[in-house]
Amino acid sequence: MKRLVNLSPSRPAALLFGLIPLLLVLGLYIGGSNARLAENPNDKLLPSFAQMGAAIDRMALQPSKRTGEYLFWKDTQSSLIRLGLGIGIAALIGLFIGLLTGGLPVVNASLSPLLTVISLVPPLALLPILFIVFGLDELSKVVLIVVGVAPFIARDLQKHTMELPRELLVKAQTLGANSMQILVRVLLPQIMPRLIDAVRLSLGTGWLFLIAAEAIASTDGLGYRIFLVRRYLAMDVIIPYVAWITLLAFLLDYALARLSRALYPWHYKEG
């Protein structure tokens, strides 16, 4: 008899199995929404898809009555700029520190304990200090993401740099490479795909800090809008925004994965 552990579904069956839970959740939502709306047509907790469609139309396709801006796109643009800057700067800092601490034992000895401590501090708890040092504008939002994400990337790269085969370094040295050349020509290319992986993994955290920063003090952004309309329980706006954030996060992750494969195909070769 075939054991369960060896039983794998065919492709169409796998697709079907994957869809069932999603459809079940969707069905439960529609059922719940209909039941609540039948009870109270103005219910805001579980809006129907028509109500959410109307909200998307209002937010994304028509200019706001008060400012004349397309709020949805304005929010998306502001948030993506903050997230991009935050993650980008965090990646650079993380790469720099990770490479140096992983590659140079002297730097490692002096920076590693500090890095470990910093990576364990919850940045949200230190918000008042961030505000006073960096102000309340765009800078502090970007800094929050950087502080939240950079230590993780740095530690991840440090670990991977230290795990690279020692033979590579020995070989480079017998060929006459100096420390600088080893760092830039041997270690750096080796950890670039790792950097992209680390960025992919830290995107979730990045979104979390972005939304937290926007909830605290802001005039636009996806997180700002969600926390603002929550004041009058406008789930018809919140649910599409959450779906949109999920989609954006997925697309970013997918794009980074493709980028990594395109730039560093050797990293994905087997054996």
């Binding site: 109270n40 219910d43 209002r58 505000f131 004041r231």
Partner: protein, 346 residues
């Protein structure tokens, strides 16, 4: 099987409103609502619930808006909130709600503070940090009206109340609108001037206990027990004797301050310690005017929903008449139970 699960889930999601004997009431920390915590701790609520042979669970929610959202979604039978939030959250969400107890109005508890400037007119062109769409926003709108400015003359920055004090400590923030205890903390900082406060619009920011109208109609016992417990607590806390001071000390400690701090907040709050004062306030024609002004502000800011054609879209019933559409009354001021307390008939 799937059907059964569906039915089970639905029955959890759909609030039920027929006669019951156990109820849940939500409250959050604010000077005028601290008596609820005290009444629950001291067994006053239990005593009144027992008298009417029901169970009342009093739950403290740390997030004010979340408590109203939970109430609106059907998770609680009653909840404390301001008149504006009662209109824009449950009433606009189609949940017919009744202001059962009008507890107090803000008489200086909400204010506008400018850094280095001493006139409200100077706010023009500044960035103003406040909790957008809250009573602070309403207060600002009323203040701007009084000096002939418009909201478009300044930039509103939505700022979480939890971070307001820290935000004000930075150089970027030069104007805030907030409430106590944050207000007094910010006012105490250097170069801060309070240029407008709610004592200039007395009776417009009202704190009350709101109950689901259908639950109220089906369970008058609940209303009687709540009102009874409230006015017993009022009698204790307003006393100038040792018991009164002990009650105020306990409420102060529960709200993170001490007796002196709590009494300072009470001084800028017009508490209706006597049921008859609350009844008189509810019956006054001014209440209808206030609700008109709140409804207009809410409509201008899109809080009555996108389907609302005008500020009177949601009817508001007050003892002096209905404001707005009488066909869709969703918020009611009902002094009936407070009157029972005033007449000592509970």
């Amino acid at each position: 099987m799937k059907r059964l699960v569906l039915v089970l889930v639905l029955s959890l999601l759909v609030p039920s409103t027929y006669a019951r004997d156990s109820f849940k009431v939500a409250w959050s920390i604010y000077v005028g609502w601290m008596p609820w915590g005290y009444a629950a701790d001291q067994g006053i609520v239990k005593k009144w619930a027992d008298k009417y042979d029901i169970d009342i669970e009093v739950v403290q929610i740390n997030d004010y808006i979340e408590s109203i959202n939970q109430y609106t979604a059907g998770g609680f039978d009653a909840c404390v909130m301001t008149n504006m939030d009662a209109l824009t959250i449950p009433a606009a969400g189609g949940v017919d709600s009744t202001a059962l107890i009008v507890g107090d109005f803000s008489n200086g508890n909400d204010g506008v503070i400018l850094k280095g400037k001493d006139s409200l007119k100077d706010i023009a062109g500044q960035k103003v940090n406040l909790v957008e769409l809250s009573v602070s926003h309403y207060l600002l709108a009323r203040g701007l009206e009084s000096v002939g400015l418009k909201e478009s003359d300044l930039t509103v920055v939505n700022t979480s109340d939890a971070d307001m004090v820290a935000a004000y400590a930075t150089d970027d923030v030069t104007a805030v609108v907030t409430w106590n205890p944050l207000l007094s903390e910010i006012e105490a900082m250097p170069r801060s001037n309070k240029v407008f406060d709610s004592s200039e619009i007395p009776g417009e920011i009202i704190d009350m206990l709101v109950i689901n109208s259908e639950t109220l109609a089906a369970n008058p016992k609940l209303a009687k027990a709540l009102v009874g417990a409230w006015y017993e607590t009022m009698a204790v806390m307003s006393g100038q004797d040792e018991a009164g001071a002990a009650a105020r000390t306990a409420m102060g400690a529960a709200s993170g301050t001490d007796l002196a701090g709590y009494e300072a907040q009470l001084a800028s709050t017009k508490m209706f310690f006597q049921a008859k004062d609350a009844v008189e306030f509810t019956n006054s024609a001014a209440l209808k005017e206030t609700m008109k002004s709140v409804a207009e502000f809410s409509f201008d800011h899109g809080l009555l929903g996108e389907g609302a054609p005008d500020a009177g879209f949601i009817g508001i019933e007050t003892p002096s008449g209905i404001y707005g559409n009488p066909g869709s009354v969703k918020l009611r001021f009902n002094p009936e139970y407070m009157q029972l307390a005033a007449d000592d008939k509970l």
